[in-house]
Symmetry: C2
Amino acid sequence: MRFDLKSEFTFSGDISTFKTELTSFIKKFNDEIIKKDKSAEIKDIKIIKNKLGFTIISEDVFRPHNALLQIKNNIGKEFGKKHHIGVRDIKIHGYDISFELEKKPLKDIKIPFADVKFKDKKATVFLKNVDEEFLRRNYIDRIINRVKEKVDNQYYEGKGEFWKSIWESEAKKPVWTKDPTEEMVKKDWLKQGPTKGKWFYRPQAAAIFKTMEKIAVEEVLKPLGFQEIIESNLVPFEVWLKTGHMEGMPGEFYYVSEPATRDVEAWERFVDLTKITKEVHIDELKKNLGEPVGGICYAQCPLIYWSFKGKTISEKSLPVFVYDNTAVSNRYESGGRHGIERVDEFHRIEPVYIGTREQLLKLREDLLERYKHVFNDIFELEWRMAWVTPWYMQQAGKIGDKVTQDTGTIDFEAYMPYRGDRKKSEWLEFQNLSILGDKYIKAFNIKAQKSELWSGCSGIGLERWTTAFLAQKGLDPKNWPKGFRKYLDKLPNGIEFL
Amino acid sequence: MRFDLKSEFTFSGDISTFKTELTSFIKKFNDEIIKKDKSAEIKDIKIIKNKLGFTIISEDVFRPHNALLQIKNNIGKEFGKKHHIGVRDIKIHGYDISFELEKKPLKDIKIPFADVKFKDKKATVFLKNVDEEFLRRNYIDRIINRVKEKVDNQYYEGKGEFWKSIWESEAKKPVWTKDPTEEMVKKDWLKQGPTKGKWFYRPQAAAIFKTMEKIAVEEVLKPLGFQEIIESNLVPFEVWLKTGHMEGMPGEFYYVSEPATRDVEAWERFVDLTKITKEVHIDELKKNLGEPVGGICYAQCPLIYWSFKGKTISEKSLPVFVYDNTAVSNRYESGGRHGIERVDEFHRIEPVYIGTREQLLKLREDLLERYKHVFNDIFELEWRMAWVTPWYMQQAGKIGDKVTQDTGTIDFEAYMPYRGDRKKSEWLEFQNLSILGDKYIKAFNIKAQKSELWSGCSGIGLERWTTAFLAQKGLDPKNWPKGFRKYLDKLPNGIEFL
């Protein structure tokens, strides 16, 4: 790496009267730096009236921007009293940073605050007109990382996800090959809307759906000692900043704004317009809305982690097994919505587990056993499990073909007969299970009395369970497996329309 | 009422060549009108080149703006072919409407599209530069109604709600007099946030809360034959326009916007800024957001009515008894938030009933009996019931002191010992029950095979049930009534923090 920082300090008075003193002071500072990093050099020192200009160069570990504040402080100590003078302002006229990339960029990139130029595998970032605050806030390192990441992404684009099968049930003869959503709509069990990717479940469909919920709680969560919690449906940006969702999928949230006021007078014109025109006047409405403050739940785990933020968990409470079954999740799907299986709004039970590595590896075995029991003995599904990892997270392919590795995500997939041949068609991901190491534990500063903590979660998508089951077993309770009929043997009458 | 409409038609060509014909045609039209309304008169007819100006006056049932289109059509029929001419444009230069108010206005009012002046009990609305479309859309009548309503409201301001007790339990000695929310926070059962007026329930508090849910379903809804449905958590403006919520409480919704796109390139700069600064740049975010499309559930009944929109219900499915227990409700509270009992986000089971008047009056008796069973036998609460009606809906005080009237709302209120003396302190509304006549039935055009339909709903606020119970019975299961301990005898261990 090479750093080249051109800076200018403005003082509260003339400094040219002690020019020699100041110059030799800075040269002495340079000698100190060189002890730590031989490549570092402060040069082009210029002193005119109340201004001190210099350039800092380094080609190793030393970061010139970290020295600026130190120089400012040291000057204050050395000359402040003697000359009744201080640094009023620090200007950065230019900051060029060059570094090597692992791979040659395939195309140019853009980044805020800087120009970026590539020459073979070398990148140079040109920062202009940044201020002291900018340097102090650690933006520089993040800009460098972001440039590297963008070049890496050029190689991964379109590569999709890593997928490796680790278990497969036997093939099972499906009861039918119809699309359950379409059939339920025809029977008036289900109604689309009122907005995109959302559904209204009439009594028959709701009864099946709620049975899935009951089975998940009774057969998986309660036997393993999970305790229910209730979280808010609204996630503030601060929480998503910590989990990384804010930078990861901002195009998928449903955003929420509060009214700027409840004051009746402020709303009077909007109410008048609504009463007179029977339409919503968006421009008038927006005058009374605040800025977006957060979004509707995307996954339930962020708020569960937030609830432990900064806490130290008593050793005897470990492992912590909790789940939320209340928050409703929203993900904006621009295309590809299909039935109740690919939607903008869905209902998930999310178990979260916090404990030692050993406790979580043990839990994974227990959870897998309970899930197998549900999918094999109660649903009698045709399904499989696979390790999945986004391509860019693969870490040199260290993913095994058994459930033995420590961290990672297992997807559960069900055969969907209506999509065609079991070998060629896409199966439905209807469940997952992750152990995430200490990523969120660190992000939320969660501690235990003694132990090192890990965490993980497992999303139980109730729409997915419902549609996987119905796609293989049909809508007629007569054809459902015995284990499931113990929970739901007869559908409610529903409502008949003419 | 008096209407005075000054209008001008512009033709596609010169009409002064058949000025006499046209004038007598309009006078003939006037003769027709007078047959229906003696006060109507078309006068000041002026014809210059391609323009026809006239004034229509009326002091009775005839609405001048309704005649404009008819005149246009009739002129087309009469002169179109003969003179190869047509009306290109209708301008309204001014439209003054005067009408009598019931009461003398206490102060001036403002209204969109018009100036309003009062003289004693007479109001005059001056509409200027409105177009044909404006007249056709029925805005005029709604403006007149809105003026009347605003003057009425001047008399009701600050009058609050009508309240009449209809039943009261005996006084009961409370177990304690503490505020249950505060005590649960101290015990780490409950955590405030992460945003205003929202809560995180840890296992002990969640267990109590979920027991309330279970009791409501098992002891009230199932015995009466209610069937569960599942609705979306998101209500589009169109639905709230039909129910009247949009004009009723726009300052209380949590508004929702979707991303304008999921396109990764469009979001790249926002992602860069987030990764580099670890902050959310609202202005950059807003470039990628669409306009507000709706809000988070406020009450569950609007979407239940929407699900029946335009449907004809089979006679044998009547009465329809359904409930939603999935959507989470949000109401923006600017001030006065308190504990889990006055919050921005809450959880309600909402039974909705649709049937004949007789079926609903019978259901009200049955529901009251079940609620009494829960509050008397299971919770052993000190509570009361009252008819409540907003002042402006009182309809000349026709509210009785028994549960005999047809439509209206009954509130259930519980004594909250921590608030002080039972006679002087405010009790908590923890439940309501309404029969609403055909208001929503008509708004959503819901029909039955033969019967005339009514509807109603009853909000079971789970936070309110929980806090009413705990405020009287305390947090120690030892002190809870037997009936409740059948449902929850022992609290979960929860999570211990250091």
